[in-house]
Symmetry: C2
Subunit: 284 residues, 2 copies
């Protein structure tokens, strides 16, 4: 039976570290604060916002909301972004996307100051991930994968890591982060020939294929650590990952469940970024 | 015997395309122009400058030089960069590096407008490579590798490609560019365990290890295409690549020599970028 890599264990440890850092900041009179920019009332956004707000509260991080109507103009939205950029009391900013179609999302994103880009969406953050520097912040999901590996003491140096998926939000940044951890990294995707044989060779597999159950027992071998980034709803209406858990779990050494794996770590990663942004600002 | 992938053949074909584009621009009264920013008189810079200037001349691209003393101030240099950014007659800019140590090179680079960054050094260009978009320009060396693959009709889709080296100037961008060409891409580096067995599996190998002769016959197998990015001087004072050519050539299907391979293509790639920058500017 595989070891279950549980998001809640990783989150608990992360939260402890975050609380320590928050205490250090507050001792210096700094109250780490997340600015949330939301346009309209999409249910997805509201649900994520509730989660983020609650996690912030638990960890002693303040939230400042900038709520705009769904028909907000580009000018007004960019003005709000400039305002949060300049506001010394806001350390990190979360902008819900996709934005309504009448808005130029790329321009809105680039208006955000990279040092406040705790969600890793600006060019500055992307360069940071690509170059392996501390410019901006990596996207929360691939970093959650790394936090899981770190928490369970899974050393990547010299290991074969395979990333399934080449998206800009997960696959590519995950590959860069594994490379920085000294893994030999392979990126597979829809055009990969005989993917099972490629994935089978890996010591560490990160699956961000975006399709339910695509990685099954033909893809895996004993001794592997499998991190499942997928969040899908199956035919029975239940949450499931990109990995066919029931088939894969009996074969591999360690695996993250869905739900209860990567997804549950991302919110703490986000809040951790807000705290880190505040610490960087004051060189703490 | 392996097919020799010759830089001069690739360059000749590239040059033809560039000349056509230059003619199209000139027909509209636009004279594509490279701005060269050089600080001091380093022999390396002067030698590269001679090559670039000559190639520009051959291809009908103008050169405008901005020559500054080795003790130029940061302010003055950045002022010059702003000047070329704003100059509508300059379409692409080459800044020689490394800059003298008293200068903040990162700040100088970021002062350059990404749309004129024909050498692929700004954050904007890096994001373009990472995201696979046409923002800025990729660094010339990895693009020269892709030009070689394209010229010789080596299709990457579904192929296994291995990049040896994870530098920001060659290894990482080459990996991203191969991924965009739909290859299954693996990045190896100094911490890779049993690199020969990993490289042996590849259909396409790009070697940017930065050490002479590191890839020898233990690393290769029949059917492979090997692109050697290395430029080293061996004990006898002769130029050589990162691949032990005499040992590898008899085994593989195709290989680039050093000299006469990748290196000889980069200058035309640079000039091609200047022309492309002009075409983008006027949407031609």
């Amino acid at each position: 039976m595989a070891r279950r890599l549980l998001g809640k264990e990783v989150t608990a440890a992360l939260n402890e570290k975050i609380k320590e850092n928050v205490a250090a900041l507050k001792a210096k009179g700094i109250s780490p604060t997340l600015g949330i920019v939301r346009v309209g009332e999409r249910e997805d956004d509201l649900s994520y916002e509730r989660g983020a707000t609650k996690r912030c509260e638990t960890l002693g991080v303040a939230c400042e909301k900038y709520l705009l109507p769904a028909d907000v103009t580009q000018e007004k939205l960019v003005e709000v972004i400039h305002q949060v950029n300049q506001d010394d009391k806001i350390h990190g900013v979360l902008i819900f996307r996709p934005l309504p179609k009448h808005l130029d999302e790329a321009a809105v994103i680039q208006a955000l100051a990279p040092e406040k880009d705790v969600d890793g969406i600006t060019d500055g953050s992307m360069v940071g991930v690509f170059a392996g520097t501390k410019q901006g912040f990596p996207p929360c999901t691939p970093q959650a994968c790394m936090e899981i590996l770190d928490h369970y003491g899974i050393d990547c140096t010299g290991k074969k890591a395979v990333v399934v998926g080449r998206s800009l939000v997960v696959g590519k940044p995950a590959a860069m982060m594994l490379l920085k951890k000294n893994a030999t990294v392979t990126v597979c995707h829809t055009r990969t020939v005989d993917m099972p044989s490629v994935v089978k060779e890996a010591d560490i597999v990160i699956v961000a294929a975006g399709r339910a159950g695509v990685v099954d027992d033909r893809y895996v071998s004993s001794g592997q650590t499998v991190i499942d980034v997928g969040i899908n709803v199956n035919e029975e209406g239940k949450l499931c990952g990109d990995v066919a858990y029931d088939k894969v779990e009996p074969v591999v050494k360690a695996i993250t469940p869905v739900p209860g794996g990567v997804g549950s770590v991302t919110t703490s990663v986000l809040v951790g970024h807000v705290v880190e942004a505040a610490m960087r600002k004051y060189s703490i």
